[in-house]
């Protein structure tokens, strides 16, 4: 399973790099879809069907909206020229990648191995979870019972985001001023 995960992660990284470099914006968006759908397969392999369900729907909707936007506007990407600043950017990003890999390597040494989780914190939720919450799906039991405040916060974030969209995009209120 780990080999399959590594193959899928490599495919996702390749898709992300291709979508940065593609000349046509439509192929860039479709290559970006590899990242989302690869994540769906990775979630399924890691036995998280709840996350996979949300991810596949949201990814499909995003892809459809992006393609609709590109169909209605231009398909060609703006060309960038090589100059003095490009070298500076490349050096800076290489330094950042090196620093990131160094810190990542130091931090992951303290973690437990892949597949062997530290169950000290999650055991008290998992073992009596179904009886305490009465929900057969433990994920729902956790997000609506143990972690009810988190769910309330998430719903509020979505509500606020929609209010923000409606406030920015109102036309009639602005004209009457």
């Amino acid at each position: 399973m780990e080999i399959l995960l590594i193959v899928i992660l490599a495919l996702m990284i390749g898709g992300a790099i291709f979508s940065l470099e593609a000349k046509d914006l439509l192929s860039a968006v479709i290559a970006y879809g590899i990242v989302g759908f690869g994540l769906v397969i990775a979630f399924l392999l890691l036995q998280a069907p709840d996350l996979a369900l949300v991810q596949i729907v949201v990814e499909t909707i995003t892809l459809i909206i992006m393609i609709a936007v590109i169909m209605n506007s231009t398909q060609e990407e703006l060309k960038t020229k090589w100059g003095n600043k490009t070298v500076v950017y490349i050096v800076l990003s290489l330094v950042f990648i090196g620093l990131f890999l160094y810190i990542f390597n130091r931090t992951t040494g303290a973690l437990s191995r892949f597949g062997e989780h530290a169950m000290r914190m999650s055991k008290p939720y998992l073992d009596p979870g179904a009886e305490k919450t009465g929900s057969a799906n433990l994920v729902t039991g956790v997000i609506f019972d143990y972690r009810g405040y988190d769910t309330l916060g998430e719903a509020t974030v979505l509500f606020t985001a929609v209010i923000g969209v409606l406030t920015v995009l109102r036309l009639k209120g602005r004209k009457s001023e």
């Binding site: 069907p49 929900s135 039991g141 509500f159």
Partner: protein, 146 residues
């Protein structure tokens, strides 16, 4: 935005009803099978968005102001908070988010107390929020092009 060809329209007509029912199934069975309010709400919003994209925005042809999805979105989160406050008032312990209904048998459709009600409220909220954001972008674009 223009509509698509006859083939796409016909297939969308057949598929979007099934998608809508599947979203409702995911929401109602949220405490038994994988999924829940967020996934089911996103699926319901997806069925509407599919319909709008296949038939084009001229098909909507909004003559007057429509506020249905916005009102549903606000009432979804209001139901959520009201159920949580009911837990504080009725539950006896005086704590927010108390599960005050009887839990019955694990694994049956009617079980788990108030958790299915939370699922339905969150499902309404997510579906209406996604549709509202999509419609706002679409109507803004049409009004600007005029």
């Amino acid at each position: 935005m223009k509509g698509m060809t006859v083939i796409v329209k016909k297939v969308t007509q057949i598929i979007c009803g099934i998608t809508f029912l599947y979203g409702i199934y995911i929401i109602i069975h949220g405490h038994l099978t994988p999924g829940g309010g967020f996934a089911g709400g996103a699926i319901i919003a997806g069925s509407f968005i599919l319909l709008i994209i296949a038939f084009g925005s001229e098909f909507l042809a909004l003559k007057k102001e429509e506020t249905g999805s916005s009102i549903l979105e606000s009432s979804g989160i209001l139901i959520f908070i009201i159920i949580a406050i009911l837990g504080m008032v009725i539950g006896g312990a005086g704590i927010f988010f108390v599960n005050f209904l009887p839990k019955w048998e694990i694994g049956k459709l009617i079980s788990a107390g108030v958790i299915p009600l939370y699922n339905i409220a969150v499902g309404i909220e997510v579906a209406a929020a996604l549709i509202t954001a999509f419609l706002a972008l679409l109507i803004y674009r049409d009004e600007v092009l005029k």
